[in-house]
Amino acid sequence: MEFVDWLNASVYLFNKGLLNAAKIGSIYALGAVGITLVFGILRFAHFAHGDMMTFGAMVALGGTVLLREAGINLHPVPTGLLALPLAAAATILLAIFVDKNVYAHFRARRSPPVVFVMTSIGVTFVLQGVVRLIGGTGDRQFFFVVEHAGQRIREDKERWIVNFQWLRDHFEGFRENLVITAPQLWLFIFTAVALVCLHYFLTRTRTGKAMRAVSDNEDLARISGIDVGRMVSVTWIIAATLCAIAGTLLAMDTQYKPILAFSILLPMFAAAIIGGIGKPFGAVLGGFIVGAAETFAVFDWRPVAGRLFESVDMTQSMALVPAEYKLAVPFVILVLVLVWRPTGLFKGQVL
């Protein structure tokens, strides 16, 4: 075995393993943060979260189509991102509307949490209907051809292949490369920026600190003069913005479909619980753990192991579990974490 085998194996592992885990992990993280914030402040599991994401993606898709018709683009920024503010605004309005007309009603009666959970499942069904009514039942691509400097560019097809020319020149036999597409790059940027902003907001601003106080002890916060009603609105604004970002970026990276985010609702809940419910940074960590667990559970180690060890049987798959069981992996991790540490990794509230 030579050094170049190590290089090939590690670049392959990074490209097919870690990068893929980070892509889906970022989406889970953005979703789980919203779920955990809503739980922290409003104290119920918000099942309609996934469909709020889909709603955001649908508005972004509509905005993108309008922008394309109008011939507006800011290449190299994907047109979908230009529609993101609109999507965020619409999702915020939706969240506030639902809260004022549905959840506030039960809050005023101090209904038990299970009533809220059931209500949010009802909201989920209504939202699914609304999304299909407006956006249709079919799948749609976020693809747009833009004219830029006389060239026609298909934005969603833009990708960069990092081929490590220096390594190729210096190590004979090096042939791996990294592949990243425009939506994925933006996904990483948005996730990082959103999480840094959220951290700053929660730890440095008055409103953020007040939110944490409400999350810790609502009654104590109330008698300290904190306007709990306003904190609820702020929570929805943050959660809805994160929903719109996650939904839009997921749809840009894959494609828009009516069950876009409903199908990842359970992994997002698993992420929020693993991180410790009510703990935003626990949720981020949980999101990446779930993403990595899903990816590496079905990861075929042959190309890595085959380069490092001569004795590997290259005809047999070396994945830990067959791909059809991928869905179950986050829940196995969830059970293990709950057994080992019932409050989650970051000592959150016990459900």
């Binding site: 893929n20 799948d139 494609q255 990861f299 042959r302 290259m314 798959s317 067959p322 991928k326």
Partner: protein, 396 residues
């Protein structure tokens, strides 16, 4: 006085028509809701057009008008399929059933309701190889060919094109599993290597981990046995983006312009098979469909027309609308000998049968039943050229 008699006459004729409409009921057991709901409307319309043509020609077995009664299988839920079939067979007392569409629903409906009561089912869309082996007293027929054959055809086409090794990803249901089993066996028999074959769940956003695992086996062609508007498109898209595979192949679920549009240039050279032929029947059906406002932008519409027509002609053949002898009569009108009948000629067929003659219903799809009630199936080989699926060859 005059007005009164006119009203009476109209009322009388309305009553007569009303009773005539219910002379014989035929079930349309389809997935009106569920994962194929967007396809079902057109398929049901295909059967409806055939029923209308029969009724316009004077009905069957001495002027009995056919009424189609619908039942919803939901496609995926065997309990719902069973309940719907039970209602059609025992409450509505249908003479025969067009359906079901999804293979699982057909199996459930046949086992629980149709076969015990001796009701003939003609499915226009179930392609699972498992239907062939149903213990059905010869009551279950289908006008859509089995995927066992399509798997062999696809394997043969790929081997002829010099493909040595493939990785297969298939949607985790009766269609995907049956197709995969048939394809893998045929491809290996023909001297090729299947480096990996994996089931995947439909409707997920991300398949990169699965694709990377398949690519690890070293095959150069990815065979995708899924639906083009579902997981199939996502998988090909992500495989192209990640650079894992450059060549693709697929089955009938993957043929459609929306796939070519979504993937673009990277799809060039993709090979796929789909049921179909270059028979005169297909052209004749296209004319009938156009005259009735049915657009042929979805699958299994011609098969549904054929299924309904066969049931009607079988009743005419045996001269009664009861369930007895339906199975033998269906086989009789579908197979040689007799006058060949194409879509739009149902009236002529009824006349021949009424005069004691024999027909060999060809229909839109070249119907012919083997001992298991399966059609032999001819397939079109499609290839993507300049961004469009183009027909390359016909394989019988």
């Amino acid at each position: 006085m005059k007005t009164k008699s006119l009203v009476l006459a109209i009322a009388g004729s309305a009553i007569l028509t009303g009773s005539a409409m219910a002379d014989v009921k035929v079930g349309s057991l389809m997935g009106f809701t569920g994962p194929i709901e967007s396809l079902t409307g057109g398929i049901h319309r295909g059967a409806e057009i055939a029923a209308e043509e029969i009724n316009a020609a004077g009905g069957v077995a001495g002027g009995n008008m056919i009424e189609l009664v619908t039942g919803d299988t939901t496609c995926g839920d065997a309990t719902a399929a069973t309940a719907a079939a039970d209602r059609l067979v025992n409450a509505e007392q249908v003479a025969a059933i067009v359906g079901a569409l999804c293979s699982g629903a057909t199996t459930a409906a046949a086992n629980s309701a149709a076969v015990p009561s001796g009701v003939v089912m003609v499915s226009p869309a179930s392609t699972s190889p498992a239907i062939t082996g149903l213990d059905d007293n010869d009551l279950v027929f289908r006008t859509a060919p089995s995927d066992a054959r399509q798997g062999q055809v696809l394997a043969q086409v790929l081997r002829e094109r010099g493909v040595e090794s493939v990785a297969v990803t298939y949607v985790n249901n009766d269609y995907g599993k049956g197709f995969n089993d048939a394809f893998a066996a045929a491809f290996t028999d023909a001297g090729g290597t299947v480096t990996g074959s994996q089931a995947h769940e439909d409707g997920k956003a991300d398949y990169r981990a699965e694709i990377a695992a398949l690519a690890a086996g070293g095959a150069d062609t990815l065979v995708v046995l899924a639906y083009l508007d579902g997981s199939g498109q996502t998988i090909i898209r992500q495989a192209v983006e990640e650079g894992d595979f450059a060549k693709f192949a697929g089955g009938d679920g993957m043929v459609g312009q929306s796939l070519a549009d979504a993937i673009g240039g990277s799809l060039e050279g993709m090979v796929a098979t789909q049921p179909g032929g270059d028979s005169a029947g297909a052209d004749a059906f296209a004319k009938v469909a156009e005259a009735n406002g049915l657009e042929l932008d979805g699958p299994f519409r011609a098969e549904a027309y054929d299924a309904m027509a066969l049931i009607a002609l079988a009743m005419q053949k045996k001269g009664s609308v009861g369930r007895d002898g339906m199975s033998a009569a269906v086989r009789d009108v579908a197979n040689a000998p007799g006058e060949e009948i194409l879509p739009g000629e149902l009236g002529k067929a009824l006349e021949i049968l009424a005069g004691g003659g024999d027909v060999n219903y060809q229909g839109a799809t070249g119907v012919e039943f083997d001992d298991a009630g399966d059609p032999p199936g001819s397939y079109l080989v499609m290839e993507v050229k300049d961004g469009k699926f183009e027909q390359q060859a016909v394989i019988k």
